[in-house]
């Protein structure tokens, strides 16, 4: 393999990792600002212009905090759990294309790290890993609250993973491919949210549960379980959990935007192909806004209702959607 190609991959990987970590940092800033506006507060406004340095200040604070490990915790797993949680969140967007092909003085630069034909399968596989981190964190802390949070997380994420997976089957059937690059190209005629509205709704509900955001933030229900599975975590280990949650928010928003909202497609793309990443991030910002909006408005669903909702409503609905899509695709011969 040519060294140039490998260098290109390395650079793209680094860009993705940096943008996910920066995305995490600025999602916290974005959430705090938007929540503050919704709740007639001011929000952060001290660190730098528009408090843009706030995430940096938070990071520095967390680095200097003491890292406590409970005396009776299972130390190895306790230290490993945040890592297991955060890595999938950072690497899951590797298969998401950021744009078409840029032509820089004759050098063709594809704005995608990889366009594997198993992209959707890869996403499903990688997101499932992070639940282990949360479960192990809850168990290894040797704290009753953390254990309850960890148990809730396991039950919740497993039951929502099914609906999430099935909701992605619909677009895959319509597109006839699992490659996200091809799925985006297929959407030039119209976003998949128009052809697969049920799948889109199921996807957006399931990802809220998948990333443990309100109203499905059972595993870390502050009012009941203090902080759920990360009760005993402090300092950078806590920051890693925090990072995993927000990076996952960005990641699932990015995947949702790619599968249902046309990904990097947008106006003027043929004149200026570099607009691709901009459109993608605009769509991500809109989806993140919806996450924050729901958090500001909605009370938390109770744990048993959440399970019932997942298994009795979302799962059958997603199955029915797959069935109907499959029948339609079989008769119409795909789009």
């Amino acid at each position: 393999m040519e060294p140039g190609v490998i260098l290109e991959w390395v650079i793209k990987s680094v860009v993705i990792l940096i943008s996910m970590t920066a995305g995490f940092a600025y999602t916290t800033w974005y959430e705090r600002k938007v929540l503050a506006k919704m709740q007639v507060r001011i929000g952060p406004n001290r660190a730098g212009p528009f408090a843009l340095l706030q995430p940096v200040a938070d990071g520095i604070k967390l680095i200097f905090k003491e890292e406590l490990v409970p005396a009776e915790a299972d130390k190895l797993i306790f230290n490993l759990a945040p890592v297991i949680t955060v890595i999938p969140a950072l690497i899951v967007t590797a298969v998401v294309p950021w744009g078409g092909v840029l032509d820089i003085n004759g050098f063709k630069l594809s704005l995608a790290l990889t366009d594997t034909n198993l992209a959707i399968l890869y996403i499903m596989t990688v997101t499932s890993i992070s639940v282990y981190g949360i479960t192990l964190a809850g168990w290894s802390s040797n704290n009753k609250y953390a254990m309850l949070g960890g148990l809730r997380a396991t039950a919740q994420m497993i039951s929502y993973e099914l609906a999430l997976g099935l909701s992605l089957v619909g677009p895959v059937l319509v597109a006839g491919t699992m490659s996200l690059g091809k799925i985006v190209e297929m959407q030039q005629g119209g976003w998949f949210i128009l052809f697969q509205p049920v799948a889109a709704i199921i996807y957006f509900i399931a990802i809220i549960a998948e990333v443990n955001r309100a109203p499905f933030d059972m595993p870390e229900a502050e009012q009941e379980l203090t902080a759920g599975y990360h009760t005993e975590y402090s300092g950078m280990k806590f920051a890693l959990f925090f990072m995993a949650e927000y990076a996952k928010m960005v990641a699932v928003s990015m995947i949702g935007a790619t599968v249902f909202l046309g990904g990097y497609l947008g106006p003027f793309l043929d004149i200026a192909p570099w607009l691709g990443p901009v459109w993608l991030w605009v769509k991500v910002a809109v989806l993140l806004f919806v996450f924050i909006w729901i958090r500001a408005t909605s009370p938390r669903i109770r744990y048993d209702r959440l399970m019932a909702f997942g298994w009795k409503i979302l799962f059958p609905l997603a199955l029915a959607n797959v069935l109907v899509t499959a029948v339609v695709v079989a008769f119409m011969g795909g789009k």
Partner: protein
Amino acid sequence: MSELQNINVGEYGNLVSDRAVKGETLLLNMGPQHPSTHGVLRLLLELDGEIVVNCIPDIGFLHTGVEKTMEYKTFQQAEVLTDRLDYLYTIGNNLVYCLAVEKLLELDVPERAQAIRVILTELSRIQSHLIWIGTSALDLAAMSVFLYAMRERELILDVYEMVSGARMMTTYIRPGGLWRDVPSGFEAAVRHIVKEIPRRVDEYEALLTKNPIFLDRTVGIGKITTEDCLKWSIGGPVLRATGLAYDIRRARPYSGYEQYDFDIPTQPEGDIFARYKVRVEEMRQSVRIIEQALDKLPGGPVRSSNRKYIPPPRSEIGVSMEALIHHFKLWTSGFETPKGSVYTAIESPRGELGVFLESDGGAKPFRVHFRTPSFSNLQIMSLLSKGHFVADLVGIIGSLDIVLGDTDR
């Protein structure tokens, strides 16, 4: 692990079920430091999975010895301590204490003072209910309502500050009347609140009342019947949410409540949602009472003119020997009271707030005891929470609207 966290089954063996002794159920220590126990309440939970088998409230972490301290203060000085009981209904605490002292001394209170007392205690009730709606919605993770409620509460605290100079611990109501007359901007400020609150309450209702998740979390949870309420001596919104229209403002009127026209909201269900509906409606009724009191706010003095108990105005001290003597006597040794004991009660936002005052004839109370609604409301915690989820337990604590300062005294 601290001593509290290390729960020994043997130690609580008589309180928990046999299953806990066998290790089938989980003992969970909730509090005294916990985000949703509304202060330093400790709950010892016995859990079967996430379902509460038993809930044992453990109080006393905020015990400040207020009742005992009051025995070492004169009647005027002791009043300052009442502010510290129920820190969300400070003006009401002052009122019930002053009513007891007035009953003991057979003091009469001028009309104007009575009306201002009603306005302020009703504002206090709204303020307390605003905190309740905010915190209990926050317990169910509806976080925005809390901040909206705080915004409106600020208006009311501004009025406190305007009349007394303090935002919480006002000690504005004094035996025999008020500390001093209200300043000139008072009526405009209260009118503004009266105009604002109903609109804002509608907004909270828009966020909560028909929200399916909120309904799911509140309807049918933490049910109690009227009989149980009466057995456990529960009053206030919890009782009215079971369908019994009992309100001390109507049953045993004080401070001229009999002149005002207001409804006693009730709901038949007795669950969290019923308590929510009752309290929301009470805010609207309080606004009605305030409006009526403002409309017929009489002029005249705001303190009784009985100089044996009420200090003379500053202007008299320079010209009247008698006034100077009274002033000196009242501020050095306090007033002497007739021997005897009295009990008065008012309707606090949480239920019956009563004070028992025993005097041995001296200038200091022989015994002061507060019958506080938070204390009696906490008794039914285990009754309400059995068989519910931990998540519902949090909602139940919120719906009882306890104030730990009021519980522990």
